[in-house]
Symmetry: C2
Subunit: 425 residues, 2 copies
Amino acid sequence: MSPVRRSSATAGNLLYAQSGGVTSVINATAAGVIEAARARGVKVYAARNGILGALREDLIDTSKETASAITALRHTPGGAFGSCRYKLKSLADNRAEYERLIEVFRAHDIRWFLYNGGNDSADTALKLSQIGKTLGYDIRCIGVPKTVDNDLAVTDCCPGFGSVAKYTAISTLEASLDVASMAETSTKVFILEVMGRHAGWIAAAAGLAGEGADAAPHIILFPENAFDEAAFLARVKATVERVGWCTVVASEGVRNAAGQFLAEAGTRDAFGHAQLGGVAPVLAALVKEKLGYKYHWALPDYLQRSARHAASKVDAEQAFAVGRAAVDYALAGMNAVMPVIVRTSDAPYRWKIEPAPLAKIANREKKMPRSFISRDGFGITAAARRYLAPLIRGEAPLPYGRNGLPSYVQLKNAAVTARLPAFKP
Amino acid sequence: MSPVRRSSATAGNLLYAQSGGVTSVINATAAGVIEAARARGVKVYAARNGILGALREDLIDTSKETASAITALRHTPGGAFGSCRYKLKSLADNRAEYERLIEVFRAHDIRWFLYNGGNDSADTALKLSQIGKTLGYDIRCIGVPKTVDNDLAVTDCCPGFGSVAKYTAISTLEASLDVASMAETSTKVFILEVMGRHAGWIAAAAGLAGEGADAAPHIILFPENAFDEAAFLARVKATVERVGWCTVVASEGVRNAAGQFLAEAGTRDAFGHAQLGGVAPVLAALVKEKLGYKYHWALPDYLQRSARHAASKVDAEQAFAVGRAAVDYALAGMNAVMPVIVRTSDAPYRWKIEPAPLAKIANREKKMPRSFISRDGFGITAAARRYLAPLIRGEAPLPYGRNGLPSYVQLKNAAVTARLPAFKP
């Protein structure tokens, strides 16, 4: 037992880390974690750049941050402590990494580990939750949900998704007003490419921008359906002829019947690389080639997942709530669980947080229900609207500076003095 | 003289039309026009799809709209009456069009014409302002400024620009927080492509996102400078090595030393077309090829100029003010002028509206001063900051619906009964 260990139920420190692609509200989760832990008298260390920081003993002492800085995390996008894409191997495959983590945990009296991420991170948290039994180090591991992909199992939705959904619906609405006013002599087809390599959750959210055959978006292309060029072109043509213009929202993961990503199959850069990517320019070229319509396309990329200025209130609140709940679960002695969002009512929308076993979440993927895509494959159903609509409701207040920019916080991120030899993951 | 003509100083109707690419605040100008005219007892017709509507006798009776609908135009992006890209030829080259316009004006007792657009629209308004002398129809023509390109002569800035500038600065800031948190194991270079085919005003505005060598954006590429591949790559490399990551903002109009657009020179689509476009993917491929860094790129396209949800307060106010002033000038009997924005002080920022002759504005283009680009060509100077900073200040309030989306108005756009035979422009 470490000499600094205290005897109370809350003896020891808590380690928090961010993992995978960040979102506009992952720092709201960090704020929830730190505020809840502070209220319980528990010190929070953050690992710099996710699990890598834990392996490298590169820790941040969040107690050096002011209360107002932590509060400001609630409205600051990106990952305040740095994130990473790094998946721990199994204990059998890389025992050295687990032993190193235990060394680091022991050196800094870390008794709780909260890992904030998606499927892979849930897997990492689950593996670490077992080292008490396998390697004899007593630690509580909690997975904390975060992903714009909305593909975590068990939870009704994932913190981060509601805000990208809102950004996408607003952007679809706004750009469509632009296209509508110019269509007489200019652009007739506008294509917005959104994230979603494997599931069409974000593309589906664009459907909230309007309802009815004549409202934008007129066509949504999902990765769940093989791209049918003839049907797509026929729909574009019919829409332009009826409405005067057409807005298409395409998921980056749209594939052809052979299973290839359209973004890779259709275009090559000057060096012959397929990775130049973008399904939107491929669709645009197709529209021009086959129908002769003037087009524009947009690819917001990181803008969509970092747009805290257009975040959903529901999403920001849920992100904060899972952070608080994770601390509660950890300090209550739970292990290998994740706070998940349970929807108890669609209208009025009601939700609560409950613990769910990581074993039911790690490495699983929640697909979008087939019943969310309309029969013609180009839109969303009433069931999808019932699910999606509450997630973009409400605006999340944001302080702006006199310079006209959001006042995002930059933490001090003071390093904890290392006590161990260096380790190269 | 038309039988409906009244004898007072404000006898007759006013025709308002929107022209060229729309902005997130052009409808605020429309609101200024309509509210000012209503207050003076003057009826406003709007031409559907710009000057085309005037030629086709396709007019909208704005008196059918409620006061609250007109107020809602102040926060609704796009062009509420439709816009067009259509340039009138000279009187000598197409006398029939001018005669048709006079027929339409006479049939609807139009005594004032307000044309809301950029350089080309100022030219159209100027040509029409002369038909009193040349064709004997007494009309007052006022150009009303609008363009995200910020390239109108005389006026200090152009309504529409401040909001796209603010959107761009916010997006640069937010996406950079995302990149910063992922750089350790993922994307090291992020490229944001912004509008600006001939001038780097919007790219320059991205520079407001941060200040100092280590703050994003680290590199801005302007159309004013020939692209220097070696210098660009060296700066990217140095930035990644020093900061850990690099944000590049590139104007769509970046050209190589031979004067070709990089977007066209560097990439071909599956059909061999150069128009697929996008300078960002070309730069991204270059970074990957020569430096090996993982990249992401974004191309917000219409999203940037329709993003009323992130509009600048100063911009929205100026857009409204030029609309009101245009009515004042017209009813005061002025002709061939434009209400322009005059900056009377940088700090505190102060501005006023004054009339300027269209002859000094039509067909001219205001370039970005060379003194706004830093000596190394990759950033903005203190002079640029002094000019740009006030234009993105303040947020422009926006009502949101219970559905979480901005409450944008859809006008009735009731058609005025046509009195003339059809005309095909």
